[in-house]
Amino acid sequence: MATETTNETQAEFADVEVVDCDVHVSYAENVQRQVAQRMDEPWAGYADPEETPARYRKPSPGLPKPLGGRKSFHVGRGLPHRQMVQEDLVEGLGVDYPILNVIGLVDTLFKTDRAIEEMRGINDVLVEEFLDHDDDYRGLLTLSLQDPVRTAEEIDRLGDEDQIVGGFVYYGTNYQKPAGDPSHDVIFQALEDNDLTPAFHTSNYIQKATHLRELENLFAWHSLALGWAVQEATVSLISQGVPEKFPDLDFVMMEGGVGWLPFLMGRMNREYGQWRQEVPYLEKSPEQYIRDRFYFSTQPVEEFDDPTHMKQVLDIIGTESLLFATDYPHYDFDDPSAIDRFLRQFPEDDRRQVLSGNAKEAFGLSV
């Protein structure tokens, strides 16, 4: 990537701590191999790129390659991912604490046993190959929603790892019930017991929202898909009273952007007035649950023709609900300066909360 730009960015953030809440360990073939080596048969062979061709390992999103020149950071570099994170994100963009997750697409697999086995392998790789190598890294455990009891066991297995700060659900795929489904309560209980925070990360190319896939092109699909999945998760969690059932949990929504939040708060408030008898366990307005118990990562930040409108949107949402995130290493990431041009219009303390303070609270980071 353009080193000149990243060096400027690093200088801009030299005096301010930055936590990046959405850093992906690219699920490249070398990582898949590491995962497969930690899985038991018969499932290891299904996941191993040396044994099974890509088209049989996971459902394909059918994206054009190489995305018309859209080049993610890791493509063609041939470097270990740890080294890229260090060079690009820590030294390049000025991120102090990356919170890593792995998009292993486990809930796009229709074999539940394999999804659970691959989930375990992914989490072992995250801890052993990444977190154990750098004290400044934090990580989110990959969670499958396909078998909540075994996923709760996985949380208990690794929940006391120092650098594990939450659970990561790649949300909105075919083999998942809605986020707040009561069958997931065992997962939320395990997270609460282990002082971990649930994070629902949008899915995009492989979603159960088939009507979105019928849109004719990626411009249309990508316009809606990112926000759709996290909106569904937010609505489902509140509608099932999950924040009331688990009073010690906060909820993080990732890679859905934030511009739709004013709409959703007002929309849910209205539906609450009309349908309160369906959700009598709610103790306050949906807007208040969102403001009090939910955090939203900023990427991909919306881009209005008049940039002052974004400041107005953030005023409505409130900076206390926002977590800075890059989405590294994807081509559609946000450079820290993309959100900082708006944050600098807020008091300095509020700016710093978005860049690191809110993340420390949301994930209980001890840094």
């Binding site: 007035g273 009309q274 008898q277 009598p280």
Partner: protein, 121 residues
């Protein structure tokens, strides 16, 4: 203040309500759990004719500590007024809006005098 005889008190059974016009204003009168109440026929949400709605019950939730799941019970039968516009719920005994303490019904004094239901505006 003006006083108006609306009807005989025995014309309303528990759970009954009717809307009358007093001084050009629409007023709903209710009998709920033996008490007589009167409210302006105007919903604070969007100005709907709230007193023309139905009186029914509603759901109440308790979290079962054994199962960790919510039990929903049907409660307040013949006491919860549901506005015909948008279905906002009000407790007809207290005037409270069930989902928000920012709103309530506009209440008027209602009493029984010599067998008549009298409303004061």
């Amino acid at each position: 203040m003006s006083e108006h005889v609306v009807c005989g008190a025995d014309e309303l059974d528990d759970g009954d309500h009717l809307v009358v016009e007093l001084e050009g204003r629409e007023i709903g009168v209710f009998r709920v759990e033996g008490e007589f109440l009167a409210y302006t026929n105007w919903c604070a949400h969007q100005g709907g004719p709230v007193c023309e709605g139905s009186l029914a019950g509603t759901t109440e939730a308790t979290l079962d500590p054994e199962t960790g799941e919510y039990d929903l019970d049907w409660v307040k039968e013949d006491r919860v007024l549901r506005c015909p516009w948008h279905a906002w719920e009000f407790d007809a005994l207290t005037g409270d809006c069930l989902h928000s303490d920012q709103y309530r019904l506009v209440e008027h004094e209602a009493r029984v005098e010599d067998g008549d239901l009298v409303v004061s505006l």
